[in-house]
Symmetry: C2
Subunit: 225 residues, 2 copies
């Protein structure tokens, strides 16, 4: 972590709209850390697969977990190249012409090669971090994985070899000639928002919801106003 | 469209938790139609790429568009195998034990092979549909693509050869022995919500926002309450 940028390589160098991209570690990490689900790409006999999966980042490594029965876990354990993409939608951009319609978003594309995590202590630490990724503060309240549960669960590490962030913010980019059109143009902000928590009906009657539940929100970066 | 199910093939057959999956056309279509961005997977020299992209479904075909300069458009025009995955996050599932934490979600994985769309009338129809996918009703209000704009924009068709939907709903699935733990368990519903529209400062002063802006929402399927 001595370098503040991920090295742009042939896979991560942005071909299109490079002004929207960056390789800056804090930016990449902030986008990854806000996410709940990444889209994991891998190849089986030339066929691409893209599977939504929860993950957690620790330093410069993404960790995934799953069942031994899943195709993704079976394939990634072989040490194949992986691409993990995390995307946050921040707004619908309504322009005055059809082809300037766009989305405001922040995304990160990570390239790496998965390796198995077999050490029990390391696995237990990662499984705890995966719970914290979903709800910070939660892991202290729940029963940790038993030795059998930890042993049964497959954990993979994807060291971030290359990564790039890409984003769009702000108003529509219209042609000058279109600005006079009598059309409403602008942005509809979007955000993944938490609704009212639904307690499990088997909870003890007096069980109060903790603050990480009642105040649940995603996003270290505030959404565009 | 005489069959109501997509044929499950070797790529789309669910290996893990098959009870959470289905190949039913209306279910697959509803999940696709609610989405704003899909994650498109393709392979270049053995390396997977996963790129977030807007899309629209018409009948049994997904359409993508982009700049001739983008890597994705250049690669997909070659007629390579593609996987497009669309995911909606519906909730965080907080269980009483770490390893039963989960997400409520609906996702679709589509497999197909991209083909170029070069016919100008077909391209224009698809570009209009792409605007409608983002904001139904919008295309009638905006300047359509000029012949040059349409000619410059690359459009790809991905016929849905195989597709599967997968979802999880409902409360946590805890071990019987954990039900007595003094832990709040339940679901925090999540939904992509629209905020207050931000008019472009170059709008005419009296320009009113249309109802598809002021009432913007995603989702034909109501979110879990």
């Amino acid at each position: 972590m001595t370098e503040s940028n991920y090295p742009p390589g042939p896979r991560s160098t942005l071909k299109r709209a490079p002004e929207r991209g960056c390789y800056d570690r804090p930016t990449v990490h902030a986008i990854l850390d806000e996410g709940l689900v990444g889209h994991v790409g891998f190849v089986v006999k030339g066929q691409p697969f893209v599977i939504p999966t929860s993950y957690v980042r620790i330093d410069d490594v993404l960790y995934l977990h799953g069942s031994p029965a899943s195709r993704m876990m079976r394939e990634l354990r072989k040490g194949v190249p992986v691409c993990v993409t995390v995307t946050h939608l921040d707004g619908v951009v309504l322009a005055r012409s059809a082809l300037h319609h766009s989305m405001n978003y922040r995304s990160v594309v990570v390239f790496g090669t998965a390796r198995r995590v077999d050490d029990r202590a390391e696995k237990a630490r990662i499984l705890e971090a995966l719970v914290e990724q979903v709800a910070p503060g939660r892991s202290a309240d729940v029963r940790p994985g038993s030795p059998d549960e930890v042993a049964f669960t497959r954990v993979l590490a994807v060291p971030i070899e290359e990564a790039s962030a890409k984003m769009r913010t702000g108003p529509p980019s219209d042609e000058e000639a279109d600005l006079a059109l009598p059309v409403w143009a602008g942005v509809i902000p979007l955000q993944l928002q938490a609704g009212k928590p639904i307690p499990d009906e088997r909870n003890p009657p007096t069980q109060q919801a903790p603050s990480y539940v009642t105040g649940y929100r995603r996003g270290a970066i505030p959404p565009p106003e």
